[in-house]
């Protein structure tokens, strides 16, 4: 396998900056890899060969001219297809938006471009980020590089799978209920959901506005931190963007890598165990906790009783907001249009378009959300869910009064088989059991690989959670753990197509 595609982003950036290798060569190596394996993995919905090579050439020109470049300049990246980027389609995994070319860049996209990061293309996802397996994409599922019969997680399965398949060293995901962390866990990669408001949502096609948060995906904690600092920071175009300095996550990742966690108090959330948890996942988690203790951390058990209500609260809030956010897809200004034969009213055309354009899961959530917001039901559903949200936030606050970070398994199970849960929405929803509380509270959380389950040999993730704007705490712990445990991703089996 080409050495370039196995390199970390930090290594690639250093080599490009020192002209040991050109950004064009690096981009081409990854484009070649995509050509080789993406037929089997299907991580990408769109590959922008020309745009990627053009961006790489610009970095090479800058380096050759001696101009200062950013710490990730020339490094390729896979962008989740829920963020707008000029020159490429944005579909959100939906037939409804097929062919739509946004006329503007998301703030995240703009920052990536300004940092000289080379966008390879757009990655597959569950339609409008609704799902935990990427099976809800209108353009076919993405497959887990560890086992092509298994799901790569979701909704951002394409982004994480592209990392695990060595198609890209960096990716951007979005996390509404776990869509960065759960795919990270089941593909053996790192995924970070920043503090709500830490990364601009401008240009992120909304699923649930009060929960959505874009974040970095990578194969190492340091790479994630480097990408985090590129995309984070205040944006006047997003009213919910926080006007505060970006937490020093790169410094924290470097500090953590020295392997010392003396004095760090780590809380184990007691609610995340028991029924529904795969024994191999729990054993991996226990080993991870033991490792943290060995690194000097103090381990404390913490109870967060309201977390038990996180899943039902999430499945009222997220669909409610989604039912309103997705109303704009009416065929009047963009996207496909169905039934406009001159005999039908605008209302009928809207209705036919939405019927044909949305998949089953999206329709299910629009219906749940519409119902939950209806007059007479609002207080019982949306109103109660918001109260639960407040209780969960308080549980976090209490816990962080005692400990520096909280840890848990990222997912209750390893990657399940494609098709296994498609007829059972509740089983599917449970994949996000451990990740949802951080979305409801707006606090940061990340998943770092914690080895392979001893039952099925599939990756398991360790979730590290921190208080709002304290991302550096979790990066430090994750980096220390990663350094001690060793890279899990090195174990990824070669893909059939690339062997």
């Amino acid at each position: 396998m080409n050495e370039l595609i196995r390199s970390t982003a930090a290594e690639l950036a250093a080599k490009i900056a020192s002209r040991e290798v050109s950004a064009v060569e690096v981009a081409q190596a990854h484009l070649d890899r995509i050509g080789e394996v993406d037929g089997a993995v299907h991580a990408f919905l769109h590959v922008d060969t020309e745009g990627a090579l053009r961006a790489a050439r610009a970095v090479d020109d800058d380096v050759a001219a001696g101009r200062a470049v950013g710490p990730l300049a020339g490094v390729p990246l896979a962008l989740k297809d829920v963020l707008t980027a000029r020159g490429m389609p944005t579909t959100c995994g939906s037939k409804l938006l097929e062919g739509w070319q946004p006329p503007y860049d998301a703030t995240v996209t703009r920052r990536l471009r300004e940092a000289g990061i080379v966008i390879l293309g757009k990655t597959n996802m569950d339609e409008f980020a609704m799902g935990s397996s990427t099976e809800n994409s209108a353009f076919g599922p993405t497959r887990n590089p560890w086992d092509l019969d298994r799901i790569p997680g979701g909704s951002g399965g394409g982004s994480s799978a592209s990392l695990a398949a060595f198609e890209a060293p960096l990716a951007i995901g979005t996390d509404t209920g776990g869509s960065i962390r759960q795919p990270g866990a089941v593909t053996g990669t790192v995924g970070v959901k920043p503090t709500y408001g830490g990364v601009s949502r401008y240009g992120l096609v909304a699923f649930s506005s009060s929960l959505d948060q874009a974040g970095p995906c990578a194969r190492t904690v340091l790479d994630a931190a480097l990408l985090h600092e590129v995309i984070a920071g205040h944006d006047p175009l997003d009213s919910t963007s926080i006007d505060a300095p970006v937490p020093p996550v790169v410094a924290a990742a470097r500090e953590g890598a020295t392997g010392d966690l003396t004095g760090v108090r780590v809380g184990v959330v007691t609610q995340f165990s028991g029924d529904g948890y795969q024994p191999g996942v729990l054993r991996s988690f226990e080993a991870a906790v033991a490792q943290l203790k060995q690194l000097g951390a103090e381990i404390v058990e913490v109870s967060c009783p309201s977390f038990d209500y996180a899943l039902p609260a999430y499945y009222l809030i997220a669909p409610s907001e989604a039912s309103s956010n997705l109303a704009r897809f009416d065929s009047m200004r963009y996207g496909i249009r169905v039934g406009d034969d001159g005999t039908r009213s605008a209302e009928e055309v809207m209705s036919l378009t939405r019927e044909a354009g949305f998949g089953a899961e999206v329709k299910r959530r629009i219906m749940i959300g519409t119902y939950a917001l209806s007059s007479g039901y609002y207080d019982a559903y949306y109103g109660s869910a918001q109260k639960v949200r407040t209780l969960i936030t308080r549980d976090f606050e209490r816990a962080f009064g005692e400990v520096d970070v909280l840890v848990s398994p990222t997912t209750p199970t390893t990657a399940f088989r494609i098709g296994e849960r498609t007829d059972d929405p509740i089983a599917m929803y449970k994949a996000d059991l451990c990740t949802i509380p951080a979305n409801l509270a707006g606090t940061p959380a990340m998943s770092v690989p914690s080895g392979l389950s001893d039952e099925d040999g599939l990756p398991v993730g360790l979730q590290v959670m921190a208080p709002a704007l304290q991302e550096h705490r979790m990066y430090r712990v994750a980096a220390a753990y990663e350094a001690a445990r060793g890279q899990v991703i090195a174990d990824v089996p070669a893909l059939a197509g690339a062997r």
Binding site: L97, S208, L237, E321, A327, R328, E347
Partner: protein, 500 residues
């Protein structure tokens, strides 16, 4: 369309029923930019030229609140004697319509920026009615649909529709009254007077163009009737498309007579939106609200709450201008006007113009005579507002000064103003170009007088005999000879002097 025989005589209506009004006024703010994006907020313009990802509702785009619009909303609230919320949020009002880009309107629901106020409204006879204000809240306007091919220009029967999103996202303030009861037969007048007072107030605040004809001020009139003496309100209708002050009055009056006829006939009023027809003065049903629309309001998660500090609110209170009715009171005293004179001045919309003309040196009487008597006719003839005429108060003051100095006659002065209105330049430029100066050169005038006397010796003899009235014929001849540029009084004096 309701036929005339389905209406009840108005006198009978007010004898048998008590009307209840509720007025909802939408005001477009004239901020530089839209409510939630940086697009220009201008009326007209090429369709879809003032649009961006946010006001087009493109996927991923987000709103940011226009601080200037919040400031205007607070000033309006303060001028309406409202309480200003210490903390309030926007909400989404969800419904599908092609000219609404997101298929939800970002509005305010149960947390308006201003609430519980009042506005004192002066009726035609000078009596004052206090109208209670329920709330004033912020929201965004929709785009505009142009329905092509139908007979009515409405969506029913149209062949196709064109959408213009230039207006989408323009800041709106919706001002809602509490139910107005007890107005009786004067209900239509109260409705008109309320909208008039509100318009004047908003104009004084300089927050909106308040042009009903352009839709920057729109009134929806809710009307219901209850049997005389009852306390429980009847079913109401909401009449839209009421595009002038006069229409407000007509629409309310029409609905009263229509509803009364239905009720007297044992029928029931359907709760519905009705459409006012300017040409017939009637209303016709629009959307029925039998299946009450459920807007599924919820707090807008893309925006943070608005929490105006008390300091800011007080600071804005300090920016409130003299309110129109206070100003009128002061003007009436200062200029010593009768009630009728004040009413004419106000009805002509000339208070500002006359004040400015006085400030530029004219007396109130001179200024009023120009604006209220003469220029109002000119404005009406052109079909424009008085303030839109192409003449400034300073120019009128200049013309007045020239008349007082004897350099222009009243007749010439009007000709000068006509030239100014025609775009020929300022008064002095018009005088110069048209050669309109009064002929005050005595020798030239004396010569013209002598010639006229010589031409009509009979008349000259009569004048010499003391029949001064005969001088008129000579004056006419002189004026004709000088092309009207002589001061007639002076000519007359000269003739008499020559003949004595």
């Amino acid at each position: 369309m309701t036929r005339v025989d389905e209406l009840m005589d108005y006198a009978e209506v007010v004898e048998r029923f008590d009307p209840v009004l509720g007025l909802e006024v939408h005001v477009e703010l004239h901020t530089n930019t839209k409510m939630f994006c940086g697009c220009a907020n201008v009326f007209g313009g090429e369709p879809n030229s003032n649009v961006c990802p946010t006001c087009l509702g493109l996927p991923g785009a987000l709103p940011v609140v226009n601080g200037k619009a919040v400031e205007s909303a607070i000033r309006i609230g303060l001028a309406l004697n409202c309480s200003i919320a210490e903390w309030c949020r926007f909400a989404r009002k969800n419904y599908f319509y092609p000219d609404m880009p997101k298929n939800f309107q970002t509005s305010q629901y149960d947390e308006p920026i201003a609430f519980d106020g009042w506005l004192d409204v002066t009726l035609d006879d000078g009596s004052v009615v206090r109208v209670a204000i329920e709330r004033a809240h912020m929201e965004e306007d929709t785009g505009k649909s142009l329905h092509v091919g139908g007979a009515t220009g409405r969506i029913h029967g149209a062949e196709h529709s064109l959408l213009d999103y230039n207006r989408a996202g323009v800041p709106l303030i919706e001002i809602v009254t509490k139910p107005i009861t007890g107005a009786g037969e004067r209900a239509p007048e109260v409705a008109r007077a309320y909208v008039t007072a509100l318009r004047d107030l908003l104009k004084a605040l300089d927050v909106s163009d308040v042009r009903m004809d352009q839709g920057s001020l729109r009134c929806d009139a809710n009307v219901s009737l209850m049997p005389k003496g009852a306390t429980e309100f009847g079913t109401r209708t909401e009449t839209k498309n009421v595009n002038s002050l006069r229409s407000v009055e007509r629409a309310v009056r029409f609905e009263m007579t229509r509803q009364a006829a239905v009720l007297a006939d044992g029928g029931t009023i359907t709760q519905e939106t009705r459409h006012f027809d300017e040409s017939t003065g009637g209303t016709s049903p629009g959307r029925t609200k039998e299946t009450a629309e459920d807007y599924r309001y919820f707090p807008e998660p893309d925006l943070v709450p608005v929490a105006p500090s008390r300091d800011w609110v007080e600071q804005l209170r300090g920016t409130l201008p003299e309110l129109p009715w206070e100003r009128r009171k002061r003007v009436q005293q200062d200029w010593d006007l009768t009630d009728a004179e004040l009413r004419d001045l106000v009805n002509a919309g000339a208070v500002d113009l006359v004040t400015a003309t006085v400030d530029a040196g004219a007396t109130p009487a001179e200024a009023r005579s120009w604006w209220v008597a003469y220029l109002t006719k000119e404005a009406n003839a052109r079909g424009v507002e008085l303030a839109e005429l192409a003449v400034t108060p300073a120019q009128i003051a200049r013309v007045v000064a020239l008349v007082n100095a004897g350099e222009l006659t009243n007749k010439l002065a009007r000709e000068v103003v006509t030239g100014v209105l025609a775009g020929e330049g300022g008064p002095d430029a018009v005088i110069e170009a048209r050669g309109l100066k009064v002929v005050s050169d005595d020798s030239a005038l004396e010569k013209a007088v002598d010639e006229a006397l010589a031409a009509q010796p009979d008349v000259a003899a009569k004048i010499r005999d003391g029949k001064v009235a005969a001088a008129g014929a000579i004056v006419g001849a002189v004026m004709k000879a000088t092309k009207g540029q002589a001061d007639a009084k002076k000519v007359r004096d000269l003739i008499i002097a020559r003949c004595s």
